[in-house]
Symmetry: D2
Subunit: 389 residues, 4 copies
């Protein structure tokens, strides 16, 4: 058995992104599809030693029970997965589904959060041992949570663990409890959502103490990707952006979650931080996320940029992006599993700032310009040691 | 008198771009406008020693006679120049207009092209001496010419000069005759249009022999600027562009020139070369330039990009750019005058590939990615010596 | 003196719409501009006898003091009025400005609203008599007010007048107080804004009792105009609209007013009513109005329509409208003055449903389809008697 | 057997439009889909007596041999037909396919065109008799042909028939030969393409002589539909359209056909005629049709309208239409079969101008305004007699 065998553990393992990632992994492994949208398959990273598609074993947590093969059918209907692949993937999907364990339900959990964390940790350890894996990378692709009020326990590991042991308290949101459990199991962690997750000082402390790398947060797959590409253009040319207005229409589960103003807040905050950083000055930037159920898995974003040129000349740029979010996110999830596994094998710990390329709100780095992020990713990845040597 | 005094000689000195550049230079000098759209005013280039706005003296050639102050009024009506600046600029515009000499008219010129070149050279030398200038940078901002059939004389300086002396031949298009005359006067040359200009092997030879730098070609101010920013995004993310369709609507003189299919050909060729280079493979890329006179100085470009993601998912991006071409081009013309003057002072000669940032079809470089061009520009400019020391 | 001389009294007489309307009227009268955007100048209405441009005398109320000629300069800077017309209009604008009286300030008014109404009425009567006018049409083009809580006094004229006499109460919002004062002065009233204005049962009663026509409300000048044109297309073709999402970006005073959620509410409500009526079933229809000050007088609306065709095929339409609201509204204000004057001369009273063509939220009619509204307008106007006979 | 049984004979019976129409008819008949996109299913036409879905029998001509059920699979892959319907439709598609006869191949046909016409006519008569049909409506949905040079034989029936008998000549393009054969078989004819078809004076003569109605031409399903809706809005509001620029991106067979400039010519001509008629004056109207194969069945049109308002204010509208052409066309083909059958039963002959609603280039009518066309269609249809009585 190869010593490169690597686990990918998905929080939200039966969601659209996870289902697409697992389906795609199976298709790649079977040679049924090219690695379109996979950054680690680019020629620039050809020399980097990473776990191969064959070496990746998938498991996960979820609170819903619709099986992966059923979810794949739904995604084929929605245009995310091709109908003709389904028969070839069904068996692999059922096998992956068998590795999914019940996630943490804040509404129904009784007792201290520490107990729940112990169970999640045990699931991870068992998965790793059962499959003889060199390591397991945990990736959060579950629904966005509302922003979490900051409490002192989030800043201090000892205080946090005391609170976790208190059966009367629920000091961590589910995403952070998952991160805590992953770290306790010795697993690197990736936040693909804007939820709090691992982005609490106490959890950063824990990761560093345990020598574990982590990355995040909020996968950059649409409007923000374009903004981090276009804003540097205006800046490099000395053109003054006056306003940057945006509207996002989305259906699917994400649309329903984000229509709730409280949940949307964390998404909007993370987007606004980036834009201000990119332009170097605050601009008028109204931004909306609308739930439009009939769009299904499709996400349509319209941005209108008003800018000023020489002698005050008024000009504009507008764009419409029509993307399938799960199709854009899924290959990046596979990329992150490979890269974070390699970083772990390389002995890196703490926030992996070099992975800013993947995120709207990068942890461990304040670089938002996409081209710079690309260069840094390439340089960092080429510097990684051999995997599984 | 400062030894930094530098000439900017515009071919097409009464056109929209030139008039905007001169108006803007006057406004900058008078502190009436910020240097929006000027790349050399960016903080990244703050340490580079360049001729100041006060040190630049303007002259030029043109075949039309409408004066610069009259043209400025027309451009205010078109929304390019602000009405309220006109009174403050009128005197400066009349002074600049007095430095404009009659250009080369292929239709009315009698005799050998060498005679015409001599006159153009003499105009430049006289301008440099009359104003005691350290050097004069010649920038071609005249109308786009049709593509020129290649002849052996374009490749060999001796053959070329023999042909120029032949009263029966017109071996060079006006843009190249202007470049030849500029080099003969010891002046660096910049091609801001897609015309042949200095981009002939024989003229490259001449520039290198005379120790003169040159730069070009075809200022990147709209659709192509966006393409060189967006295409690398798709590539870096491993997304496969399937088609990239474009339509450009433009009025003004440029629209009228380019509606002629022959003239448009050189513009379209230069755009297509760049797109193929950026994406690394040929894609379906229909492209149109339409003359829509009522748009005046405004240029509207619509691009539709169809791309494929993970497992063949079909997605699209479309954008509409609404720009005032002269407002975008003029500050770049001033930037190029400053940078090329500094390169000359620094002893550089031949094609300045580090200026690819400015051009659709860069001479001396095959880098089309905007972010890379930006980095190279900054690095190169920071390496220039002191100006006028 | 012609017995056709007709007053146009503008509430918000120094606002952008009013200034543009008055400037345009002066330009039309002087033969300096064609009646572009004036519906009453269309060939279809050529035979309708209406007050001529020469017969219209302008006055109004406002609470701001910046003079009309100063406002016209600002609007020229904003691209709404052409610079070259200003000198020819200045004298006429000053004359019109002299006919503007201080409006009703709810914040500073002391005493019963009846007193304020009496003053407004007196201003109108004095204007009519001073200029020997056959009639005065009052048009509200002031800023949008927040929605008004309904009280029983709004339904009953006697109760309303009792409340108006009570110095402790402010039973009517300014727009409705203006409508009340206009009716009491014997003047027809037009609501060009979404404010309550004349649209209260007690005021309808008063108008009918006094034999006065009125029209409204909320001038249809952009996104809604398009919706009332496009929605019937989908319906006539049996295509099923699934969602109709909209974003409006606007600067100017209107943007600032509408950014306040409370003010925007009346605008959004009026838009939603129309869409549901047009499509015959409720659809997902998120709609935003954003204040983007740098856009100035420009209003940019983006709409995304997702619709379903045969066998469930998914398709979409999106549009971007870039309009100058004052340029679109002003000629309609002149049209309404002419048409409502003619209706008054014709003896009509109450809500003029045939004018639904002009409004987002038509009073006296539930027809929202633009083509039907056009036919009804034409038929009604052709049926009017001779004016001023 | 009902005396309402009606044939629908499709020229190009295995093309995308025909396959979608037949699939949809089967689905409607089986109650598997609602009649979305069918105009004859609208409440406004509820009282009109038309052949029911159950009464329609399908046959046709084609020159390709891929079977209808195979084509349906391709269209499901392209997003036009829903995958889940295919199993239920397969048998019906095979039955319809058995009624398809070999079409006319100009390249391989030997001998006089009259011989070919006789064969086509015989196919129609046999179909009608075999199924005991009251009548057969022939609808041309084959690929667009290049414009046909006009010859005197097209104007005179006797000359035409003499030429048809000449084995050395091919006086009619395939679409017109099909129309001729249909009329000779006593069948009404509908031109859903821009090809010449029935629109030749000699064929009009023949139709009138034989008491047969016909309709055409060029189904209005996308950009032109929008233009006939939007242009009347500008006109009704007195706004002056200055330019109307359009770009159409299409893949599929249609894209390939129209990329050939000669074929596109008939499409572009038909579009331009309509726009000029709608606006009442010529405007700058560049229009492109680009073949973009990766778009498959999708058609994307971008239009940019520049217009002028009061006092010369410059504004714009742009829209992007993303349609599936076959999904839009197919229900109209069914509508036309029903309506033209009813017109025939009603004794009407010649061009059915009241069907202008369906066409870009209406025969027998010069009304291009969509709303007016809708009204005329409704009025005309309500005036039809009982069908099959």
């Amino acid at each position: 058995m190869s010593d490169q065998r690597t686990g990918l553990w998905l929080i939200g393992a039966r969601g659209s992104v996870a289902t697409t990632a697992v389906s795609g992994l199976l298709a790649l492994r079977a040679g049924l599809a090219p690695p379109t949208g996979c950054v680690t398959a680019r020629p620039e990273l050809a020399e980097v030693d990473l776990p191969s598609w064959d070496d990746i074993v998938v498991g996960g947590h979820d609170v819903v029970t619709t099986s992966l093969d059923k979810r794949a059918e739904q995604l084929a209907h929605a245009g995310v997965l091709p109908h003709h692949l389904l028969p070839s993937l069904a068996e692999g999907l059922r096998a992956a589904d068998a590795e999914i364990r019940d996630g943490y339900h804040p509404a129904t959990h009784r007792g201290a959060q520490a107990t729940a964390a112990d169970r999640l940790t045990a699931d991870l350890v068992s998965f790793r041992e059962r499959h003889g894996l060199a390591r397991v990378v945990v990736v959060n692709v579950s629904s966005t949570e509302p922003p979490v009020p900051h409490v002192p326990e989030h800043d201090d590991l000892a205080l946090l663990e005391a609170a976790l042991a208190d059966p009367e308290r629920a000091v961590l949101p589910p995403s952070s409890l998952a991160a805590y459990a992953a770290l306790r199991a010795g697993c690197p962690f990736v936040d693909f959502t804007p939820s709090a997750g691992v982005a609490l000082p106490a959890l950063d402390r824990l990761a560093v103490d345990l020598g574990l790398p982590y990355a995040g947060r909020d996968g950059k797959t649409g409007e923000t990707l374009l903004r981090t590409v276009l804003a540097p253009m205006f800046t490099a040319r000395g053109l003054r952006v006056r306003s940057w207005s945006g509207t996002n229409l989305l259906g699917g589960g994400d649309g329903a979650t984000l229509q709730d103003a409280e949940h949307a807040a964390s998404k909007l905050e993370s987007k606004a931080r980036g834009l201000a950083a990119l332009l170097g000055e605050p601009v008028t930037a109204p931004l909306h996320i609308d739930n439009v159920p009939d769009l299904g898995e499709q996400k349509t974003a319209w941005d209108h940029v008003s800018f000023e040129g020489f002698l005050g000349a008024r000009m504009s740029l507008q764009f419409t992006w029509t993307g399938l979010d799960s199709s854009l996110a899924a290959p990046l999830v596979l990329d992150l599993a490979r890269l974070v596994a390699a970083a772990h094998a390389d002995g890196q710990s703490g926030a992996l700032g070099a992975l800013a390329f993947f995120f709207k709100d990068p942890l461990g780095h304040d670089e938002h310009r996409f081209a710079e992020q690309t260069r840094e990713l390439h340089a960092w990845a080429r510097g990684l040691g051999r995997y599984g040597a």
